[in-house]
Amino acid sequence: MRPSALIAILALSIALSAALVRLERGGRVAERSFFAMNTLFSLRASGRGAEGALSAMEEEVRRLEAMLSARDPSSELSALSRAAPGPMRVSPELDEVLRAALEVANLSEGAFDPTVGVLTELWGIGTERARVPEEREIEEALRLVDRRGLRRVSEMTWTLGVRQKLDLGGIAKGYCGDRLLAMARSLGLRWALLDLGGNIVLHGSPGRPWRIGIQHPMRGRGGILGVLEVESGPMAVVTSGVYERFLEVDGKVYHHILDPKTGRPAEGKLASVTVVMPSSTMADALSTAFFVLGPERSRKLAREMGARTIWVLEDGTTMVDEELVGRFELTDKSLKVVVLR
């Protein structure tokens, strides 16, 4: 065979292989980043029609945001707070989130509570009017924080205690993640990596395990505590920590995770908790509940819900569920690791 023929065959082979591989993989990787729900959404996916799928996902996020925002007075959620005591008939989406929120509220005995609206508004952490309220104001607000005020009286119809306010900040992004996962499945995407303001939601796999970094709670936003490998989706990796949004007054730091029982930022010598489980909605709400409850009191609920956890205490001690051992690699070797059995 002549050298020129060899080169021609090689070139043809490469082109053909590339085409076949591309066909099998369902096209190139699509990416989309946008701001919604007061944070950054970064979506990445592969599969046929991935570009269109991400565009549809952005639309879905905007639709859900308009429904579930506690800050937007025109949202359906705000309307329900205003209509208290109601009853008010809600959309199937709001009905689904409220049911999930109430379930976690009951399971966690109020450590997560969707009726904290008055309290979060009072502190305003993460907004320009953030301040440390007076004791009297906190006491007053606490009277309006009670999950028993939120009730589903009939199919898709809810009532809420007078003057109570709902805040789904601890669950709305999680719910959004499950909606996007369902879209990724139904649209037949090969894989999708959905970053909802730091909540990581995975669909499928790129042909190797996913490598998800966990934010280091004591370092700046770029700092990584360790790397978690996830074989394949559906899986959500959600972290709640003291570093994300906080208020600093006279050298004292007030973080944004409020304890619905005390009306103040949760105090449990914790820096962060990461929850790993297939349901994004549950992972989101449970990460807030677990942060308030602490590792000891969370253990039973985590078992029951099939949630895997990684805890970082204020002193840097890192506690990892034994089910995650071998899949979680601590990159900050200066920290002490304890395996939770």
């Binding site: 065979m1 053909l16 996913w210 490598r211 998800i212 994300e244």
Partner: protein, 122 residues
Amino acid sequence: MKRLDLVVAALLFALSFPLILREMGDPPRGALRLSVIQGDSRLDLPLREGVSWTRRIEDGTGGYNVLEVDGTRVRIREANCPDLLCVDTGWIDRPGQTIVCLPHRLVVRIEGAEGGLDGVSR
């Protein structure tokens, strides 16, 4: 075409697969890249050892962030946003790491390279 030619052609075809698979492995591998996203506009730039530069990014309403690239690490050196969370983030140098400035709707992200991160839970 001789029988041997056919064998050679088949062999070359089979050999080209691993080559292509390596090149097309996804998510994208290879050199480090920097993505700068502001609102709807996006800029992708290569990150190389030994190449350093600084750029002031304006948001069009008086807001600015000063982006500093030092080889393969990146930070926001200065900004006039109210919370300065972007500046507090400090240097980032691993794929998957992100600096976000919510008030100025700015995202700076490192992409690419095998062994990097797909995302960061926070």
